[in-house]
Amino acid sequence: MSIAAKANALWEYANPRKFLATSERVMPFFWITSIACIVIGLVWGFFFTPDDYKQGSTVKIIYLHVPAALMAINCWLMMLATSLVWLVRRHHVSALAARAAAPVGIVMTLIALATGAIWGQPMWGTWWAWDPRLTSFLILFLFYLGYVALWEAIEDPDTAADLTSVLCLVGSVFAILSRYAVNFWNQGLHQGASVMRAAAITGTDTEEKVSNIYFYPLLLCIIGFVLLFIALVLYRTGTEIRARRIKALLARERVNG
């Protein structure tokens, strides 16, 4: 198959029936592999990795904290992509997938924030610091809340899809702006305080520091979280498609009867 034909074949999944049939077929694979990856990764990480010489056993939190944080951001990116597809090509599945993904993103952000707070307590001596990275996640959380609230508030599904898509686009720009603003703001406040440097433990800086012992179980957990996210979004999109169909059928029933 040529690339163009493949691309065309991809759009066929915009058909709700086709999407439901295919997702039903592939979902067991995603559920099983994701749960297997997460269980193996967590067990490996929890039972079979040594304590860090500086952080002690708290290093084991990384297997939950980093994958959740990654998925919190990736989920927003996925919503951005599907919102664009909806605005450009008007495929209903795309808009519904964005709606289905948002609560998953909220939970991922919550996990990242909660594990971060629990981890931060013994490491930095505080549950919460207005560190740029922490603050950005809190702002991302607010964006998710607003997005979900807008979906819930609007009756007409097409209007809701349109408005939330635009909000997602505008919100993305402002989320990136906030990220830079927060970076600037905190530097302005604390010029390299030692607690803040400890913040480099979280997030991407870790990968450089983390030796292979921690890296492989972490990689497994990340893969597991990605697969879990896909499984959840496929499942929840299916639910949204059915809910939408119920609404359409009931409306038709009212008109006819």
Partner: protein, 218 residues
């Protein structure tokens, strides 16, 4: 266009409440702060720039749900949408009218409220400058939020939830300018960032607001 602006301004003054309400809210927030944090003037002068910025932002937010709602209810928004004037300009005019009736009075009132909070002397200049540059962005972003929620019956609270995260960059840089200025430090970088955000939102966001309004008027 000018006729529309004049009409909006006239309506804002005639309605009575809309014009003064934001100012009164700003005053009350500022008066309540010393009651909640204590009357020590050193503490107050430290937090004054931030409090004044937050107060102005909340006062601005409070007036947003009236921005388009009245025109929506009496149907003049539909009329405006079918008028030869592009909806982008309508939205910009609306934001400008909102700024003139809400943002500008807040900017002018801020120094007087600064006295109440014992704002350091060099802070007055930077407070007014930062608010003057920052409030137009708040009006434009607010118009976008108002356009998003215009069709909803109880849009007020949702409007706040949607708009407040969008205010974060403006608040950070604006309050930073005021704070640095009050302590006599260099303010150039945040000031440029604040101006950049305001310019970019004024240039780009009306397109999003107009698009959203078109969806809602469908």
């Amino acid at each position: 266009m000018i006729a529309l602006l004049l009409r909006d301004l006239k309506l804002a003054f005639r309605a009575g409440g809309g014009f003064g309400l934001g100012l009164a809210f700003f005053l009350i927030v500022t008066v309540l702060v010393p009651f909640s944090v204590g009357p020590q003037s050193s503490l107050l002068s430290t937090i004054a720039p931030g409090i004044l910025w937050l107060g102005a932002l909340l006062a601005c937010l409070l007036s947003l749900d009236r921005l388009l709602a009245l025109d929506w209810e009496d149907g003049s928004l539909d009329l405006l949408a079918t008028a030869p004037l592009p909806l982008e300009s309508v939205v910009t005019i609306k934001a400008l009218a909102h700024w003139l009736t809400t943002g500008l009075p807040l900017v002018l009132a801020a120094p007087f409220l600064g006295v109440l909070l014992n704002l350091p002397v060099p802070g007055y200049f930077w407070l007014v400058i930062s608010l003057l540059i920052g409030t137009p962005a708040m009006s434009v972003i607010g118009t976008f939020g108002a356009a998003l929620t215009v069709g909803l019956k109880r849009g007020g609270l949702l409007l706040s939830l949607l708009v407040l995260p969008l205010y974060v960059p403006t608040l950070i840089f604006g309050a930073e300018v005021a704070r640095l200025g009050a302590t006599g430090m260099e303010t150039q970088t945040p000031l440029l960032m604040l101006a950049g955000i305001t310019a970019a939102t004024i240039a780009l966001l009306p397109f999003a607001s107009a698009a959203v309004l078109r969806i809602n008027l469908r």
